[in-house]
Amino acid sequence: MLKKLQIQAICGFGVGTSTLLMMKLTTAFKEYGVDAHIFTGDVIVGPTVPCDVIFTSKELAGNVQRKAKCPVIVITNFVNQAEIKDKVKGFLDSNKEV
């Protein structure tokens, strides 16, 4: 990969739940040895910020998807490292093929 992946965690305001998600994502990307820039965003501005992938909750996904130009991945359990790791792997695998 040539450039650092830009990964965004989105919640309502980019302060609470997205912070939790960002931490889990950081751990997951590290485990796969991928150097990524992981940041948080809110549901209004976040989707318009350029990035490679967005992770968010089921309830916000619809709103985010309408505006986002990148894949949007839904996380059901924000504290479950296994689910997040699994979905990060899914993203990394699909990203390789492109």
Partner: protein
């Protein structure tokens, strides 16, 4: 080391509550110790009405909050353990652990929240929290990381 949640911000609730009432109970703890003004409680409820129950971030667990605003006087977190779990119309219902938090600035992520995330990733701790019967028990479990 600083506590993750102070003693006065922890409550066991045995009464049945609708989700709006539940957020009020958790918000009132923050109000009582001067971390927010009353309007922040309504803002937290409004967040769910506007965006849906996304604050229910994991099975049985919700983090009520609103945008950083003038109603936030300082960063803080409260926790209410509901003995009669609360329904938010979420896939992660029913909620036994309801956190409420106030953040004064957007850029600054709560260090306490970060620590909390570690704690909430441990299934045994979450289960022990849900089964707690006294505020003292909850207090000790929540702060076990830093004490």
């Amino acid at each position: 080391m600083e506590e993750i949640i102070i003693r006065e911000n922890i409550r066991i609730e045995r009464q049945k509550a609708k989700w709006q009432e539940a957020i009020k109970i958790a918000g009132n703890l923050l109000l009582k110790n001067g971390s927010i003004t009353e309007s922040y409680i309504n803002e937290m409820i409004h967040t769910v009405l506007e965006f849906g129950p996304y604050i229910v971030i994991a099975p049985g667990m919700a983090i009520a909050h609103a945008a950083p605003s003038a109603s936030v006087l300082r960063d803080d977190i409260s926790l209410v353990v509901f003995k009669d779990p609360v329904y938010f119309d979420s896939q992660n219902d029913p909620v036994k652990l309801l956190f409420a938090f106030s953040a004064s600035k957007k850029e600054q992520h709560l260090e306490q929240l970060v620590k909390l995330s570690t704690l909430l990733s441990e299934e045994e701790t979450v289960q022990a929290l849900e089964e707690s019967n006294t505020e003292e028990e909850v207090y000790k479990l929540v702060n076990s990381l830093v004490m």
